[in-house]
Amino acid sequence: MDQASIQAVGLSYAYGDTLAVDDISFGVAAGEVLGFLGPNGAGKSTTIRMLTGQLSPHRGSIRILGMDMPGDRTAIQGRIGVCFEEKNLYLEMTAHENLAFFATLFGVTVDVDALLERVGLRERGRDRVSSFSKGMRQRLMITRALINTPDVLFLDEPTDGLDPVSARGIRDLIRAEADRGAAVLLTTHDMHEADELSDRVAFIDDGRVIALDAPEELKLAHGQRSMRVRRRVGGLVEEEVIELDGASAADQVRAAVAKEGLLTVHTEEATLEDIFVQLAGRGLSG
């Protein structure tokens, strides 16, 4: 991970006596999407606040794009994009004015209309944000995070409140940013989204990273695969579940599909949520 765009080592932060982040270490490479998963209060937001320069870690070190945070805060902040969970837009300014203002802060010249076009807001660019729906505001938030063509993207629940079509569009956009070479740290409660977008996922619980790997590797390491076979016996439908990780799984599968009256065969694997529950002993929504 020497070339990581984000490199966090031994990060810790406490609010008074409450340890919010406890010795967290991870890295995100350029072009990689790291899913940051954990229940509310796990320490995700505090970690992102430290990474984006809003908080200074009490212990540990952060390097973003080879620079020290918070030592090189201003230089780093010029090359990152942040999409917050709360829709912190200037409601009495138009979408166009919001983006133009942030472009000035970054010192970049951008085609605001083209940016709005990317998220389907060009037609509403001259309307005040106060008249926008929740989904439109979310799309504008994403656009704002991309205004400086960032090398590192921090996205906190980027598809929250979006309809399926819009969410799909945003996921495509995130993937495109990663393909462009941006390192993406993605916080989401949507396990399917994390599974689909993330090259790796980090499970955070009680301020610690309890697992960090590619979704498939986590499933292989911690999840249980099974096959559900249904067949008609007499007038009744009979169902058989075969654990595929068992030593005799192959024989059981062959036997099951060879029997008469076969109706359906389904394979099942653990979800990221299942794995988190298995590792943390509680759900992601807890």
């Binding site: 809003q54 837009l89 009495e92 300014m93 942030f102 802060l105 970054f106 010192g107």
Partner: protein, 362 residues
């Protein structure tokens, strides 16, 4: 310090200010109303005492001595009957403040050394000084008509007036209200700044700004510039419209600048609470009401308690009054302005500190 970033935040804040209909209307309304009120107020004080006199059978009395026509500070109006005099005093007709009814044979009685009975008519709300004035007038009248010494020897007194002698030169209502109007305009802009900051905090837009290359120092500087600029420009406009910038212009501008910085500090403090509109009104008023005391005290010269001098805005009010009324030079008000400047530094520093801490904890 990146001036491009500071400029962008200022421009954004002014845009948001211009779109807040409430504050824009308050600003415009304040300017129009205060300017109109100022010009409606009297610009001078009529200190002439109008005294009604009924002297039965002494038609030529009013041509004598101290009552021979209008004198400076005293005008005598003759009445044909006691009833007419009484009605005029009661109704305040023609500004008659008091009436003297001299009995028939008044001159003869005086010359004979007798004590004729004189009836004095006073309104219920007449000040005590007026009774003394009338007493003196009667003694002077007796001396004039009978050439005898006043029945009572007046003690010899030497008046020592500390400060500007306002005897016969009282402050007009325009003079008294001028500092108050200026302060009220500053106060409106305090609300505006506090509202801008509170919205930025409650909407957490400041967090979005501070994860860009913008620093907290640049954010704070922009707020100070916006708050001071709004307050200063409105106050200068007001003083210009009420014709107060003719003399001591630079001194007045300095005073208004200090006043604007002071209320900006208050705006930062109140805005840091991040409350809704009512919360902003509450917190702003909490600071503003004490600061308004010197301006209100200026409406009643001599009536204010001594501690008013210690208020942060006292020097501001004193400077505006001294420069606009007496044409005081800078050196005469430098001390007052120095005190205001110290208060400015303290309040502004407190506001910046509190807002900085608030922003850091978002």
């Amino acid at each position: 310090m990146n001036l491009r970033i500071v400029g962008a935040i200022i421009k954004k804040d002014l845009r948001l200010f211009s779109r807040d209909l409430f504050y824009v209307l308050m600003t415009a309304f304040g300017l129009v109303v205060y300017v109109a009120m100022f010009w409606v107020l009297p610009s001078s004080v009529d200190e002439t005492l109008r005294l009604g006199v009924h002297a039965e059978g002494m038609g030529d009395l009013l041509d004598l001595g101290p009552v021979d026509g209008p004198k400076e500070g005293l005008a005598v109006v003759a009445f044909d009957s006691q009833a007419a005099l009484r009605d005029a005093v009661e109704a305040g007709t023609d500004g008659i403040a008091a009436g003297l009814d001299l009995p028939q044979g008044f001159i003869e009685d005086i010359r004979a050394g007798d004590q004729p009975k004189i009836t004095v008519f006073l309104r219920g709300d007449a000040p005590a000084e007026l009774r003394d004035t009338i007493g003196g007038f009667v003694r002077e009248l007796a001396y004039a008509v009978a050439s005898v010494a006043p029945p009572v020897d007046m003690p010899s007194l030497t008046d020592v007036v500390v400060g500007i002698d306002r005897a016969g030169d009282q402050l007009s209502l325009q003079d008294r209200f001028r500092p108050l109007f200026a302060f009220l305009v500053l106060m409106i802009e305090t609300f505006a700044l506090a509202g801008l900051i509170a919205t930025e905090i409650s909407g957490r837009t400041v967090v979005a700004v501070l994860v860009t290359p913008a620093t907290t120092a640049e954010f704070l500087l922009a707020k100070v510039v916006v708050g001071t600029g709004l307050a200063f420009s409105q106050a200068v406009l007001l003083l210009g419209l009420i014709g107060a910038l003719g003399t001591g212009t630079l001194t007045l501008l300095l005073a208004l600048l200090l006043g604007s910085l002071l209320v900006t500090g208050v705006g930062l403090l109140a805005g840091s609470t991040g409350r809704d509109f009512l919360g902003i009104v509450f917190w702003t008023m909490l600071f503003i009401i004490p600061l308004t005391v010197p301006a209100i005290a200026g409406l009643f010269p001599g009536a204010a308690a001594a501690w008013v001098v210690a208020m942060p805005t006292y020097g501001l009010v004193a400077t505006i009054t001294a420069v606009t009324v007496d044409g005081a030079p800078f050196r005469a008000v430098a001390g007052d302005l120095g005190v205001v400047a110290i208060w400015c530094v303290l309040v502004l520093a407190a506001g910046l500190l509190v807002l900085r801490r608030k922003v850091a904890t978002l």
